[in-house]
């Protein structure tokens, strides 16, 4: 029964795959099911839109791109799917993966097989910390997020409040998975480097139902700037319970996640006003700095019948566009040819729909990748930092 099932599955997918022989195949490895499915799917949409656009313009090196999906529901699965994409689907490279753990696991497989892996959305440092030859990352990382948060404090918040940055009392809280932990770690490190007074760094499980003790602790320590890296549930809890405890810091800076989602704003209402956020480029941004953004929004709406649910699609789109067009400008689809082509990519800042440029530097990380600083104003998340990309004034201190 086992054998038959497998052979049937193999036959079916072979039929499906063999449909268009003249195309060049790329793998798209994302969590399409399980707990991360929502944003995994969202991220994938960006890649799909990029491929649509490129194919409409003639494909790369004269060939149409075919995307083959792989479901990275857990680490073991991610490995299996990577293998399938490489050995059975014969993809030339893999694009992915939203989740740092999945990315790390799957890219090790790709490396062992000598197939290029392009990470377009996962933020943990370790993704590009392993001296891998075939792994490239286009998106900004947890480090970028941490640094930008601190820069925002130094450049805008302290002056806006009329105090020295080192006089601020800063509390860092984060959900305890790789995402929250790595961002918080960078905030702590870079903040210390810049002489900021970070009085506490605390993790908590994202499934928590109560954060009142944490809020009291922050209040007790006299924290006036809170940096929180969290998902939906804990963002809502924190904002609600802080207000209820009478804890009113001068600024709250979220690290993406729940802080970028409309659903959170709908849940907490007026409490969201003025809350800051550092994340991938979202949609209310100075479009002079982000050419192509409006076209992207139109294309998204046309294809999926709704607005983007988060900035993940945009960032994956930008990364996919850069990489695929870069490969198109090169020669051939052999792994080393792809690597050479990609290493030659040199897009300056302000010329992509996300605003940041693309150039692969140390450890194949895009050294021009950048996050954006945003603020909730009037129920909308608008870009306020850096000034080039800002579409509204940075509101701090009243």
């Amino acid at each position: 029964m086992t054998l038959k099932t497998l052979l049937t599955a193999t036959a079916v997918s072979a039929l499906v795959a063999g449909a268009a022989q003249a195309d060049v195949k790329f793998g798209a490895l994302y969590p399409f099911s399980g707990g991360l499915a929502l944003l995994g799917e969202e991220s994938f949409r960006g890649v799909e839109l990029a491929v649509d656009e490129i194919n409409a313009a003639g494909g790369i090196q004269g060939e149409q791109i075919e995307l083959v999906r792989g479901d990275a529901v857990d680490n073991n699965q991610a490995i299996g799917e990577a293998r399938r994409l490489i050995s059975r689907e014969d993809v030339k490279a893999i694009l992915g993966t939203y989740s740092s753990s999945r990315s790390i696991a799957a890219s090790q497989v790709a490396e062992l097989s000598g197939i290029p892996y392009f990470e377009l959305g996962a933020v943990a440092d370790e993704v590009t910390g392993r001296d891998l030859q075939y792994l490239f990352r286009t998106n900004p990382t947890a480090e970028t997020m941490g640094i930008m948060t601190i820069d925002m404090i130094l450049d805008e918040i302290a002056p806006g409040l009329g105090v020295e940055a080192s006089d601020l009392v800063i509390g860092v809280i984060h959900e305890d998975s790789a995402y929250g932990t790595s961002v918080a770690g960078h905030q702590e490190e870079y903040g210390a480097e810049k002489g900021l007074n970070i009085v506490t760094v605390q993790g908590y499980p994202s499934s928590t139902v109560d954060m009142s003790s944490l809020v009291l602790d922050l209040k007790d320590r006299g924290v006036n700037i809170v940096l929180q890296t969290s998902y939906q549930n804990d963002s809502v809890l924190f904002l609600n319970q802080s207000a209820e405890a009478g804890f009113e810091p001068d600024a709250i800076i979220g690290g993406g996640g729940g802080y970028s989602l409309t659903a959170t704003e709908e849940a907490v209402g007026a409490l969201m006003e003025g809350v800051l956020d550092v994340d991938f480029t979202q949609y209310a941004v100075n479009t002079e700095f982000t050419p192509g953004l409006e076209d992207f929004l139109v294309a998204y709406q046309n294809k999926y019948g709704e607005e983007p649910r988060s900035g993940h699609s945009l960032n994956n789109y930008v990364g996919a566009m850069a990489v695929l067009e870069g490969i198109g400008a090169g020669e051939g689809f052999e792994p080393d040819q792809i690597v050479a082509a990609v290493k030659a990519i040199d897009i300056p800042a302000g010329e992509t729909a996300a605003g940041y440029g693309v150039h692969f530097g140390d450890q194949n990380q895009n050294d021009r990748a950048m996050m954006m600083g945003m603020q909730w104003q009037g129920g909308k998340l608008v870009t306020v930092y850096p000034r080039d990309a800002a579409v509204a004034e940075f509101q701090i201190g009243d």
Partner: protein, 599 residues
Amino acid sequence: MTDTTSMTQASGGGLSAQKLGLIAVAVLLAGLIAVPVAVGDEFVYHIFITICLFAALSTAWNIVGGYAGQLSLGHAIFYGIGGYAGVILVNLGISPWFGMFAGAAVAVVAAIVVSWPCFRLHGPFFALATIAFLEVFRVLALHFRELTGGATGLMIQLNIGWEWMVFRERLPALLIAFGMLLVCLAVAWAIRSHRLGFYLVATRERESAAKAAGVGTVKVRLMAVSISAALSAMVGTFHAMYLTFIEPESMFSLQFSIQIAMFALIGGIGTVWGPLLGAVLLVPITEFARGALGSEAIGLHGFVYGVVLMLVVLFLPNGIMGVVHRFTSGSEKTEGEQAAPVAAAPRSAVPHEAGREVMRVEGLQKHFGGLHVTNDVGFTLREGEILGVIGPNGAGKTTVFNMLSGFLKPDEGRVSVLSPSGEWQEPATPADFATLGVGRTFQIVQPFAAMTVEENIMVGAFHRHPHVGDAREAARETAHRMGLGPYLNAEAASLTIGGLKRLEVARVMAMEPRILLLDEVMAGINQTDVRRAVDLMLSIRDTGVSIIAIEHVMQAVMSLSDRVIVINSGQIIAQGDPHDVVRDEHVIEAYLGKEFTHA
């Protein structure tokens, strides 16, 4: 569920069924290697490696969850320990082949620490405790970042080669996974067909009876847990090398622990091959379902999984092996009369001469709260004597028995037993008593229902004969003596009450006791059986065994006992020759009330 039937050689008709079963398993195992090699596809290799991994883990789990009956839902603790030990050591330059054993050692320590205090907890609570331990481990793994890498996890350097268990091709990984599966299966099979397995099942079924049969119930369960933990850890180390990246959430995962247990359940808990079948069946199905349903709608795949699980539990509670068994178990009918016991030695018509003292009971006192249940009970037992203990209900006879077999500790007083070498010892636990040759039966029969008659008796026989073969011989011989010969392969649960009582006695006799404590063996059996039982007891005595028997059936007491003790309200109110005792007015008063003392 007679899970050893296919393993015993006794059933002639079952021989071909057993052989067929083994051949099927061998084919299955061969297929695990042959199919991926034949198909040659990397993805297929991955599936089969995953099957081997899950099957190995489920088999290891089954040693604790199935054989020992302790439902552990936190087994990922050991798997995770193995994984982390492997990765940490690899990053220090030590090969995972060594790291595997280091991880296993740590896992064994963790297993003992975690399980020992929890053995007293029944099913669901043991499960909850293991879940709690797992969560604590996971939180601690997140917390101690310097050691475990915390939430961001740990990676291994990609050094290729057998030494590091990292390969470009898939076949070596499959071979290692398959090898581990074989090791787990071999260990599981070995346990099941040797003494440890019997002891585990006995402990699982009836802990007190097992103790009375001389089984060190805590010790055997600790062994089971340790073995299981070590195997799980080793698999964990390999998997960590295969994944090349580990993190607390996936290494100490409750979901994963439940999955492992699930495969064993669906395949057939407590059987050797069940977990393997469960994994072989479910892993591909889950793959296929995920592929077909996964991206359709978020949650559809999980929903179907949950529903399927409920259906399987409702309709196949004994798993696949249970279904297989129903088709293969031959005719184990238990009709027909019980044979008369074969006397080991001719009965003597002369009143027996009692020998030296073998057991001394002095000044026993026991209170249950405010209730004084045993009040200054003392007597001696002579070699070859049959001592009857009678008294009204609630007099405290079984309480005294419990103190004579280590199941209850007296508040005051002493129980001394003459050892075979001639010194007096004061045993404390049931195991001590058993070692000194004191065996007992229980008022409410306690058969090991999941075993056959033969296997039940073997549990007792193991006390003297550690090897399976010898124990089986001894059990058979005892069975014949007790008149249970025709029923050797019947499931214990299918015997009549008379048969069960006999089985109880047989099991104790297989321990070759010198002193036998019988607690109401005649209760609830018919006249014919009573006579048979009396003959049986006399023949036992004639082999040199001393007997203390609590009895209500007066006919038996009169014809059997050399001496009688009467206990009422925790005190001895009369002792002596049976015929004198029943005429003692205190005894009559105790049983019937004052009005009858002069009847």
